[in-house]
Symmetry: C3
Subunit: 241 residues, 3 copies
């Protein structure tokens, strides 16, 4: 049995991964879903990427976790890349799950289409505290496309504002992902349109991993909420030996 640590995406928190974690636990695995610094209910919205990474390395140390399958969803890909660079020997396999794969020096904003970066900047500037929340129509049709409208609204009401610095901070790595001596997997939801497919997750970002295990699933960007069982299955296929 494996030890899974699941790192949520932007605007989410660890609790939203609870249903996925329960499905993985039903397979006999240990699962952790920490909330990143910056996404907790009382967190300062000036939190940056390095603090988010440090909140995971601190969690792994505090719980003395080893032989980990470390999975990151979306923005969580930035974070797990940093964690893997700092704590390579605790990790068996990295799982990117429609997630960003940065090389050293990249910020998340460098990896999205220019019109997304501009929208994010405008939202952060208008926020008053340099955070941003997705406009509902973008969430509904771009992120929650395969779910129903009531569920989309209910999920939207649980999101928290994302500290914009986590999107603009450039990651510093000693080793880029392709050169990391770890197992690597990429889960790609065939319905995932959170990034436009002309500038998408896979293969554009996945192939930055070098040799990796591809897991395609029928699901969109919020499959953790819409179909947690299928998401758990994909994470198990991605994470097994």
């Amino acid at each position: 049995m494996a030890t899974y640590v699941l790192i949520h995406g932007a605007w989410h928190d660890g609790d939203l991964l609870g249903p996925v974690a329960d499905h993985i636990r039903a397979g006999g695995h240990e699962v952790h879903t920490p909330t990143l610094a910056g996404n907790g209910p009382k967190d300062d919205k000036s939190t940056g990427l390095e603090e988010a990474i440090a909140s995971v390395t601190g969690y792994l140390e505090a719980h003395d976790l080893r032989d980990i399958v470390l999975a990151g969803h979306s923005y969580g890909g930035m974070v797990i890349t940093g964690v893997a660079d700092r704590m390579t020997d605790r990790i068996t396999r990295l799982v990117y799950w429609n997630a960003f794969v940065p090389n050293s020096g990249d910020s998340l904003l460098d990896l999205v289409p220019p019109h997304f970066a501009a929208m994010f900047r405008d939202l952060a500037e208008a926020s008053g505290d340099n955070s941003l929340t997705l406009p509902y129509p973008v969430w509904r049709d771009g992120f929650f496309n395969d779910g129903d409208g009531d569920a989309a609204q209910a999920a939207y009401d649980k999101l928290n504002p994302q500290p914009f610095a986590t999107f603009t901070d450039q990651i510093a790595l000693t080793t880029d992902p392709a050169a990391m001596q770890l197992g690597k997997s990429y889960i790609n939801g065939l319905h995932d349109a959170a990034l436009p497919h002309s500038h998408g997750w896979h293969p554009r970002l996945s192939e930055r991993l070098g040799l990796f295990r591809l897991v395609q699933m029928m699901g969109g960007h919020e499959s953790c909420l819409i179909d947690p069982g299928a998401t758990a299955d994909a994470l198990i296929v991605a994470g097994r030996k």
Copy 2:
């Protein structure tokens, strides 16, 4: 419950969408499947694109339909774009279903690969009445790839010659689709090879919509005939609030 108006593709007519409509009605919705001008049994094969569009706007007025989910299949995408431009306030959401997405000035022929355009021109010239019918091998392997041979032949026998002017007429729009203030969805069948995937439906044409809801399904271009239940499910996911 919603009001669906389904606009068929080239060579088809509204009756061929009957099984899909029945499945959607079983979900409690109202469904209309008008036959476009040019595709009726007695229609003049000199019909052009503007007449096809007008046959739908006339239908919507005659039945006083409002709050419509207007879905267009294949060539039907040309038509619903024109209808939406002329009757925006009657429409809640446009659903393009492996369909063409024109900007103002585009003809259907501008949106297909050059070797398709050449084949269509040759067929129209040879027809005697400026119409065209797909050669059976193209229908069988390119359009009906996921169906069986007897069903492919039976469906082929129900097709009607397409007025070529509907493919060559340039559409005139006051607003291109990306700027239309309407909900928009794009259904993409993963088996759909009616356009070659190097010059395909999605994301090449879908991303002309600006923000849209992507619905991917396991089905080919003629899923309306091969798997009407799955097609209806996709239309419901595409059309719901």
Copy 3:
């Protein structure tokens, strides 16, 4: 009922296609799974592509097979293209199944990404007999990505070294595949990552066939071992009239 001849890929042999063949036979069809020259237990590892092709044409003659659906998996696409060029009149339809589609003058190495070609060359040089075996990590994550680890290891233990000349020999054809007057199908597994998707099987290689029937399936490169039933279903859809 049809006569299927299934041609295995590199490192495989005909016996490994036994479970797929049994599923197809259950549909009432006749199925042959010859082992290519170069992949038999006592075969010389200096075998070249022309000998592999000749081993199939010899098999078809010896069994006097006609009206064949000739399917090739992966490297088997090189072989069936050569067979079709030499024995067109015995073949009803070619089925490429995540397979290479060469034009005259191409070697397999010309059709893979440069870093694969370099890896294959290095492995062959190090082998002592100009053959090559995939490193296990490449097999596990690149080829067997959708299977489990024990099954991956068990299958790996059944593979045989591939004569490198079958990858470097240029095929000589009188007719390139697009111009062959035969039915053609391409089966593409959506999980197949044996080639990177930025330089993949479909549509890059499939569209060399001209008009062809696309069959997409949920499966990876080794679906013959991981899900022989779904593979057989795809071969039947690809091969039917």
